[in-house]
């Protein structure tokens, strides 16, 4: 099989085309929402939502077959978003307590799934996804769920960024912290729903977190974070699907598609991390600050608090 076959021709096969369409929409949305997850430090809540969604998927599957997956997961995810928003606001920071609640929901999901006829097959689909076997009539619900998440994030994006940067300042300016948190957690929940149906609940977190983390490494310019994360996620999904197809068909090794996509994501993150390490900060962040002053390359600046820098002569008058 040639490279062009894997990268382009493969997607003219209907199931590969559907997989690519759903993954591209999902990747763009997950990239945008993932930047906010990164800036707000909501990784734990995102992880919680992937657990909370599982019983919803399971109940939906048992009650309505595969057509019940998206509705069941959506209900469970929105309930989970409400619950986690409330836990967060109530100041319940006991990670153990939250973890206990979440593993409990996961076990409920497993028990529900065990009642289905095809226990092993159903469980595997829920945990590891089934991006290559999405039926045509499920494409629209998945795309819709993703686009609703994108719209909710986009409409509140200015205020979400304000809150992420300065929570008390945002409240003082009249923004409701509760409303913003509910909208963002619901958007994360909807991304989890769409992603759980494609790459599986166990791997959802990669889609939400890796693109945002890559964007933070590549740029320090606020509005570049979103296109960078979305582009990374889209290219990663495409290459992941193509790689899985090439190896499965060409080499006869049956690679699970969801895991291959995540593998490509993580590999991409490693490459960016290495590139940043080799080039130093100035190499990737192309536009210099307005003063034009040269700054030293600093390697992994995001990993350590920035020391206050001298004023470099401009504006300070010291």
């Amino acid at each position: 099989m040639s490279l062009t076959d894997a990268l382009f021709a493969a997607f003219s096969i209907p199931f590969m085309g559907r997989a690519l369409l759903v993954m591209l929409v999902l990747a763009v949305v997950a990239g945008v929402v993932g930047v906010l997850v990164n800036l707000r430090g909501l990784e734990f809540i995102s992880d919680g939502l992937t657990h909370a969604v599982f019983p919803g998927l399971a109940i939906g599957l048992v009650m309505g077959g595969t057509a019940g997956l998206v509705p069941g997961a959506t209900i469970a995810a929105l309930a989970g978003a409400l619950a986690l928003t409330w836990l967060d606001r109530a100041g319940i920071t006991a990670d153990a307590a939250i973890a206990i609640v979440l593993t409990a929901t996961f076990s409920i999901g497993v028990i529900v799934v065990s009642m289905s006829d095809d226990y092993a097959g159903a469980l595997e689909a829920l945990l590891f996804g089934r991006v290559l076997t999405i039926p045509p009539d499920e494409v629209l619900p998945l795309v819709l769920v993703s686009l609703i998440a994108l719209a909710a994030t986009g409409l509140t994006l200015k205020q979400q960024l304000f809150r992420a940067f300065d929570a008390p300042g945002s409240r003082a300016a009249g923004n409701s912290a509760l409303a913003l948190d509910l909208v963002l957690n619901a958007a994360i929940a909807l991304v989890v729903v769409a992603a759980a149906s494609t790459i599986g609940t166990l791997l959802v977190l990669a889609l939400l977190i890796v693109p945002g983390a890559v964007a933070r490494l590549v740029t320090r310019r606020l509005w570049w974070l979103f296109p960078v994360a979305a582009l990374f996620a889209a290219v990663g999904s495409w290459l992941g699907l193509a790689t899985g197809f090439a190896i499965s068909v060409g080499a006869g090794v049956d690679l699970p598609a969801g895991a291959t996509i995540v593998g490509v994501f993580v590999l991409g993150y490693a490459v960016v991390l290495l590139g940043r390490f080799l080039l130093g900060r100035g190499g990737l962040d192309t536009r210099a600050p307005s003063s034009g002053a040269t700054r030293p390359a600093e390697g992994f600046e995001t990993l350590a608090p920035l020391a206050p820098q001298p004023a470099e002569g401009a504006g300070e008058g010291r």
Binding site: K158, Q159, A164, A172, N175, S291, P305, P308, E316
Partner: protein, 259 residues
């Protein structure tokens, strides 16, 4: 001072759900007037400011902002009042530039659906010029010095074109150039008719910028023109138990000076 007050408190009290609060507040601030809010640590200065913002519940009395009674007038309040928080605890690694921070001051006027336009960018530029940071507009916020960050946050408050500006300990930790810049900015705001309420430990700065003083220590101790309120008796009553020296020009409150 014939204008109707921008802020009027009548026997107001603000109380945190936990019980701590400040009470007995009677205060008028006219357009172009600056009032210093003075009291020891834990006297309820921040509580008073947050009460005016609606972030701490009012438990007694009345409040009027811009001539509108404070009850259920969140929208009116948010169109009028801006707040400069105390030594804002902001992540220096957050990827945002100074002008993007200042633009946040314009968001409440934009609502959910509109994005900043030409008028907003002009307002941001003007606010940055006012605080003397226009040459650093594109600089990442986290790379500014502490004093520059404070002035940047002041520019954000100015960009929302407030009629009442609340400042919580804005002089804390500022070096002389930044302190002077802040004093100049506050004076020019007063000339533009902005009402200012500023909490501070720095009694000398209260004299430099403010027309009136409110002394609080859990309750309002005294309120009036600077020279009438700054008496040894009043200050000692307010800073109970703290040794206070006062003469014609300076007041020294040990443990509070120069912070």
């Amino acid at each position: 001072m014939t204008d109707s007050p921008v802020l009027r408190l009548v026997d107001a009290a603000f109380t945190h759900p936990g019980g701590a609060g400040v009470e007995g507040l009677r205060l008028d601030i006219a357009p172009g007037e600056a009032v210093a809010l003075i009291g020891p640590n834990g006297a309820g200065k921040s509580t008073l400011l947050k009460g005016i913002l609606g972030l701490v519940p009012r438990t007694a009395g009345t409040i009027e902002i811009g001539g509108v009674p404070g009850d259920a007038q969140a929208h009116a309040r948010h169109g009028i009042v801006s707040f400069l928080p105390q030594s804002a605890d902001l992540d220096p690694d957050f990827p945002i530039s100074l002008e993007q921070v200042v633009m946040q001051g314009r968001y409440r006027g934009l609502g959910l659906f509109r994005w900043p336009g030409r008028v907003d960018r002009a307002a941001v530029r003007h606010a940055l010029e006012t605080v003397g940071l226009d040459s650093l507009a594109a600089r990442p916020f986290g790379e500014l010095s502490g004093g520059q960050r404070q002035r940047g946050l002041l520019a954000r408050a100015l960009a929302s074109e407030p009629r009442l500006l609340l400042l919580d300990e804005p002089f804390n930790g500022l070096d002389q150039p930044n302190r002077d810049a802040l004093v100049d900015t506050l004076r020019s705001l007063k000339r533009d008719g902005v009402a200012v309420l500023v909490s501070t430990h720095d009694l000398e700065l209260a004299r430099l910028v403010c027309d009136s003083v409110v002394l609080v220590n859990r309750t309002q101790v005294s309120c009036g023109p600077v020279d009438e309120v700054f008496t040894l008796g009043n200050i000692q009553e307010c800073f109970e138990g703290v040794e206070v020296e006062i003469d014609e020009h300076t007041v020294v409150v040990p443990g509070h000076e120069g912070r």
